[in-house]
Amino acid sequence: MNAPVKPVGRLKKASAASRKPVSAQRRYDGPPDYRVVGRHGVYPETSHDEIARFNFLAHMNRHLSTQLMPGVAKAFEVRVEPSFKKNNSRPFKDRHEVRKALLNEPMFQWWSALRRATMETRQQAGRWVTLRQADALNARAAALVDRDRLKLNPATRLPRYVSAIDHHCMPGSYHTELVDGDVTGAANYDVGIFATTGGMLGLYNDGGGQAIAKWIKETLPSLKPKRILDLGAGLGHNVLPIAQAFPEAEMVAVDVGAPMLRYGAARAKSLGVDNVTFVQGDVSDLSQYPDESFDLIHSCMFLHETSMTAMPKIFKETYRLLKPGGLVLHVEQPQYDPKMPFFEQAMRDWDAFYNNEPFWTKMHEIDLDRFMVEAGFPEDSLMHGGVAAVVDPKVFPEAAKDSKQEDYGRKAAWHVVGARKPAKAKREAA
């Protein structure tokens, strides 16, 4: 517990009582102290003990991925796979067979039981923080929001992919309102994601959005979008970096969850970002916007929370809404490439089946390129890239440089799938 927060090499002079010879100190490479997280105007207050809880949970997750996960891999190698081959006289035929075999392996059972328990404990810790100060948080959000930057539509139909199950074991998911003007669900998401990622998402949990903004600037330096649409924006942590990268642009961030949008609009205001409007809606039907309304459309870790019926509709709507020459970018965890071992695919499926992300499994096996082409995007306009969370490396761990941790689905490193609408859309095809 006496581990210093500051990186090795920048240690301040320790007091005489705690000073140890440098050579006797174990090199610390774990998560930073929770207090490095940035606090915007609607961020919940956190007591010393609440912070300590998030510190513990960040360490639990890192222990699970760096210390116990390799044990699961080893058990698969020495017990699960040989035993399957012996009993069936053939290798595994797909990831589902691997996962079902793993369910009988004690290393997998204990790692899974602890991982699920850690996620549920994280939810309780975050909900405690936000619910005990619900009235104050809701009032702070209401006071911050610019009315013209928040467009709620309570008539929005909740898609089945949201109503069926609470994603990542987050009670009430993105949409539940416990009281009028509620933001507590969003505040819980924001206040606790540090614990799930071990600080890998940076100061405002926005390392993903920072990465995408950087990728766009580097890959497409001439892009000057005037209108940008974000799909499944949540509380906007990956929206603001894009809005800040294009300050001349007007950005629309759409989500079904009113608590997310309220919190997002208040958060944006307090962070001085004034070119984003948070809109409640279902992104498979944005008929309130005419054809060719946007230059750039973006989603970050959103598609895997939709469904096989919704996704093609979302892609078609995206195509319709893009101006000629407009660009769409989707950021996701990597697809289950045929070269990816079945064990890795099965481990990546853990979040689908055991962390309430059910579409994760199907979404990662399909050919996203084909879906984009079917929505109208020319095959030769498809683009693929890789990004890792952009954070201040003096304070936060960098996913791109973390070789110790392979969390199969939670690492802050993602794939980008993009496409461009032809500069002159073929209207006669319609």
Binding site: D49, A52, Q109, A117, E120, R132, D135, Y161, I165, G172
Partner: protein, 118 residues
């Protein structure tokens, strides 16, 4: 405005039938309880560490001062409120079992198939 009771709501069950991994679901319940006991020990340890460092820095208290401390009524009530919150946190898994009695959630397995249908 309706008051939200964090003691009741913080440990709410997420929608979706809960998977159990250990051979005995009871063992897994105990594991969940133990995890939070472990967590709260870390929390206490961190707080003690803060206090001890501050005390050492400022030289305001001795070990004997701590040993001889007796709480007032108000102080004892504050400690009792803390203990209530602590117990609710520790026994979250039983609250979710209770909530599952009156729900009929699909499993992620079932929903995955449903959502994967074209």
């Amino acid at each position: 405005m309706a008051r939200l009771d964090p003691l009741a709501l913080a440990g709410a069950k997420a929608k979706g039938k809960r998977p159990f991994f250990l051979d005995s679901a009871d063992d897994e319940r105990l594991l969940n309880i133990l995890l939070v006991v472990v967590q709260e020990l870390a929390v206490t340890r961190e707080r003690m560490d803060t206090i001890e460092r501050l005390l050492a820095q400022r030289g305001v208290l001795t070990a004997a001062d701590i040993e001889g401390f007796a709480p007032s009524k108000a102080e004892a009530d504050a400690r009792g409120a803390w203990t209530q919150e602590y117990i609710a946190r520790v026994f979250r898994i039983l609250q979710q079992d209770k909530e599952a009695l009156v729900t009929d959630d699909d499993s992620a397995e079932e929903v995955a198939d449903e959502l994967a249908k074209v």
